[in-house]
């Protein structure tokens, strides 16, 4: 299997080495959701909004290409020029004195304190609060010092605070009631502190960003970014084929050949943070106090995984390069166990043997296994969309080993409600994983069972897994410890991991210094440049 790069860096020469002859440059991209609220905390619900917000707002620090999140050197300075550890529970960031909001006001420590307060205001409904739970408080130390106090010691403190907290301009928003920020004049033309300024939004059509010539980290190499809103994937592809846009991410398998044939484009493969999986419920959906009558048995869970030809299913949906891990490990965590992307292959005889060992036999000859008069029958909870084809294939493959699976495809809202309430046997879930593997805690650890707001909706609890997780969270040598975590999950089978796709991105060849990031593809867009000899009229 072709190994995906963690990030794609094309002609990644430093800016200073570029030709002195430059053109302003324009990037036109199409996104599937309308970026109506491209700002952090009170906006940014969709990927498109977060992508635009990344151009307008800076983090305290950015990840380096290894995507490792542990250690005090995990980040590269952005809004903060440095940070120092006060003690095991306290870190202080120093803001870059050159950092300015787009209205010229300096970025102050108070902006971070205000943003932290907003995040914690329940009325805001900020969805990253569970991730930031280890942060106890944020305090301003003078105008530019920001001190983070943590609840416990762990190696990802710098990453957690520096990467996940994007400040908002307190001097503009502080006087507004919380629930009116999203409808304020600021929201219609957000003022940020990033490399691009918000120029205009044509509703339903596009958003235009202009480079901030006074950006303190250097003038952006691309002068203008146009983000078109195109909900239909066919229309997005057509725009690229006609040359009206320059980029397309998550290129579907079916379009690869057509785009490859275009000489103006190059296709690059980047690690993706998406993971599709069939989550087993550890509890009886009718009474969560009881273990699941079928799925509580690890032999059954193992057998259900072995009965599937996951490689074929994943490749037919996502093409070559897709990973099929045995644990909750998307491509961005391939650094933990690089071979973990090739999970165990289909083994129908072994699946049958395991089911027989668990007491499941076809006593009435109807083709469905049974035990004590109860058939081996499970319901697959499936939301509308791309997960259904997987469910249909799973249903057919399980039928071959005597397992009856009924697909229960429900609309998005009832799906979410049933999932969060644990009313399912098997949930066809998808997750966008955080770069930090410590986020495994939220979905798989005993500490989150029954905790309101946790994503451990299947109530999974394995003391051995938790022990290894605790070691990894505090280990000074995290790689080996995280390997242990993944190994334990592989043996424990809380879910069948169906696909860890890569992100295939199409980029116009005239761009140079291109870096594409896994979780936020366009974070380094401001460093891109246009080769003058290949410039298009729209670049001038």
């Amino acid at each position: 299997m072709r190994q995906a790069f963690l990030i794609a860096a094309l002609a990644a020469a430093p800016l200073a080495a570029q030709s002195p002859r430059t053109v302003p440059g324009t990037v036109v991209m199409a996104v599937g959701e309308e970026p109506t609220r491209p700002f952090p905390v009170v906006g940014s619900k969709s990927t498109a909004e977060a992508d635009v917000a990344d151009q307008l707002f800076l983090r305290l620090g950015g990840l380096d290409p290894s995507l490792r999140t542990a250690g005090d050197n995990a980040l590269r300075p952005e809004l903060a020029r440095s940070w120092k550890r006060i003690d095991s529970l306290t870190i202080q960031f120093e803001l870059d004195p050159r950092a300015r909001w787009h209205d010229g006001v300096p970025v102050r420590a108070h902006d971070l304190v205000y943003t932290w307060q907003l995040m914690n205001n329940p009325a805001v409904g900020f969805n990253g609060l569970a991730t930031l739970e280890p942060i106890e408080s944020v305090e301003a130390v003078g105008a530019r010092g920001v001190r983070f106090h943590f609840r416990r010691a762990f190696p990802e403190q710098v990453y957690l605070a520096g990467f996940n907290l994007l400040p908002l301009p307190a001097h503009l928003l502080e006087r507004l009631p919380v629930d009116s920020i999203a409808t304020s004049s600021w929201a219609s033309k957000p003022i940020g502190n990033g490399p691009y300024r918000f120029a205009r939004r044509v509703p339903g059509d596009f958003v235009e960003l202009r480079a901030d010539p006074a950006f303190f980290l250097g003038r952006p190499g691309i002068a203008r970014v146009l983000v078109r809103f195109v909900s239909d994937p066919v229309a997005r592809k057509n725009l690229l084929l006609s040359g009206e846009t320059d980029l397309l991410e998550n290129v579907p398998q079916s379009n690869l050949a057509e785009l490859k044939a275009l000489p103006s484009l190059r296709l690059v493969t980047v690690a993706n943070n998406i993971l599709l999986y069939a989550l087993f419920n550890s509890r009886d959906p009718a009474d969560t106090a009881r273990p699941h009558p079928i799925l509580a048995d690890v032999r059954v869970r193992d057998a259900l995984g072995l009965a599937l030809d996951r490689q074929t299913m994943a490749q037919s949906a996502f093409g070559a390069g897709v990973g099929v891990p045995d644990a909750a490990q998307s491509q961005i965590w391939a650094w933990i166990t690089p071979r973990g992307m090739a999970g165990q292959p289909q083994n129908v005889p072994r699946a049958r043997a395991l089911l027989a060992a668990a007491g499941w036999r076809d006593t009435d000859g109807d083709g469905i296994l049974d035990r004590n008069g109860q058939p081996l029958r499970l319901t697959l909870l499936v939301p509308p969309g791309v997960r259904r084809p997987f469910a249909v294939q799973v249903q057919q493959m399980w039928r071959a080993v005597g397992v009856r699976a009924d697909i229960d495809e429900v609309d998005r809202a009832p799906y979410t409600e049933r999932r969060n309430a644990g009313r399912f046997d098997i949930d066809f879930a998808a997750v966008s994983q955080d770069p930090a593997p410590s986020s495994l805690v939220q979905s798989w650890s005993c500490a989150t069972v029954g905790v309101p707001g946790s994503t451990n909706v299947a109530h999974w609890c394995d003391s051995s897994f938790d022990q290894r997780l605790a070691t990894a969270l505090t280990s000074q040598r995290p790689l080996g410890a995280w390997k242990g975590v993944i190994e334990r999950m592989t043996a424990w089978h809380p879910a069948i991991f169906l696909a860890a796709p890569v992100n295939t991105v199409a980029v116009h060849r005239r761009f140079t210094n291109v870096t594409i990031w896994p979780t936020r593809s366009w974070r380094s867009l401001w460093l891109w440049q246009v080769r003058p000899e290949a410039a298009l009229p729209r670049d001038r």
């Binding site: 036109v28 109506t36 609220r37 619900k45 409904g125 339903g204 725009l239 609309d411 009832p414 979410t416």
Partner: protein, 323 residues
């Protein structure tokens, strides 16, 4: 006439109100937590959930929610979109104009060119041109609109590069572009979606009009006119066309809501920022206030279409007018 108009208007208003009550009640009673639009597949803390529920009113009983909604509606307030956090009225207004533009031009072409071609086909039934027209209309009607759209995009947008393949305007157009430049740009973006819409819809008025005119041509007054030596053009215009308009007026009334609903597939394929695409997005995201707002707009459009059709009946049919 005025009395009739008032009675008809009151009837329409009452029907619209009933439809609105049914729509709002049905959408609010749909299974699933409406907060899913805000939260997606994420979970939230109990404090966050209760704050969000209080903010969106989802913690109230259905009847309370409905009464609050209608009180706000009476003040012209359609509420806030749960996915966008902005007033529903503002979102609908943003998307209404592109849809009205595309829909009204489609109707205009369908009911001018379509009627003229239908009349011509009825008057020249045995010619090869009429047969060719019949074949084209059948093909246009049978081929799914998105297929026709894809072919046009491939030919004129990708292969020849003559026309833009998506959107309502050129994102690269200068912000200080002249009115003429803007007009030409909008026109260029309109051609492909409009042509697709017309191809998909024009067959119906052509065939309706042809059948209606052919029916009228057998009427005694037409034969009498011919026997009197009235010219064929006068027979067609004066004695055939106008009486044959009644079924077309019905069609017009039924199609008028297309102005508001747009065409979901075509708007999606051409990234046309209209209401059709918005309704599809809002429904997929379970954005209840936005779905209800768009639905109310459709109810209003149906009523206006019906009222306009009744008015047109009275114009084209003197018997109706006298009644």
């Amino acid at each position: 006439m005025r009395g009739w108009l008032l009675r008809r208007g009151a009837d329409g208003l009452f029907t619209a109100l009933l439809a609105a009550v049914a729509l709002v009640a049905l959408v609010h009673a749909l299974p699933g937590d409406p907060l899913a639009a805000v939260l997606g597949e994420r979970t939230a803390t109990p404090e966050q959930l209760s704050a969000l529920a209080a903010r969106w009113g989802t913690d109230q009983p259905l009847l309370t929610r409905l009464s609050r909604y209608f009180v706000a509606l009476a003040h012209g307030d359609l509420g806030f979109s749960m996915t966008r956090g902005v007033p529903v009225g503002a979102v609908l207004l943003e998307r209404l104009w592109p849809t009205v533009l595309l829909g009204s031009l489609t109707l205009l072409i369908d009911f001018t060119l379509g009627l003229a071609l239908g009349l011509w086909a009825a008057l020249h039934p045995a010619t090869w041109r009429a047969r060719l027209l019949g074949a084209f209309t059948i093909i246009g009607y049978a081929v799914p609109s998105f297929v026709a759209g894809m072919v046009l995009i491939w030919l004129f947008g990708i292969r020849l590069g003559w026309l833009p393949v998506a959107g309502r305007s050129d994102v690269l157009l200068k912000m200080d572009a002249s009115a003429w430049e803007i007009f030409i740009d909008r026109l260029r973006h309109l051609i492909l979606p409009l042509t697709t819409m017309v191809i998909a819809t024009i067959a119906v008025p052509i065939r309706q009009q042809r059948a209606a005119v052919q029916g009228v041509m057998a009427a005694p007054w037409v034969r009498a006119a011919r026997a009197r030596g009235v010219s064929p053009a006068r027979v067609a215009w004066r004695h055939c066309w106008r009486p044959a308009l009644t079924p077309i007026v019905t069609l017009f009334g039924l199609w008028l809501p297309m102005l508001v609903a747009g065409a979901v597939f075509i708007e999606g394929l051409f990234a046309w920022p209209g209401l059709g695409a918005l309704i599809a997005e809002a429904t997929a995201a379970h954005d209840v206030p936005l779905v209800v707002g768009a639905g109310l707009l459709l109810v209003a459009a149906v009523q206006i279409g019906s009222l306009l059709a009744d008015l047109l009946y009275r114009v084209v049919d003197p018997v109706q007018r006298d009644q």
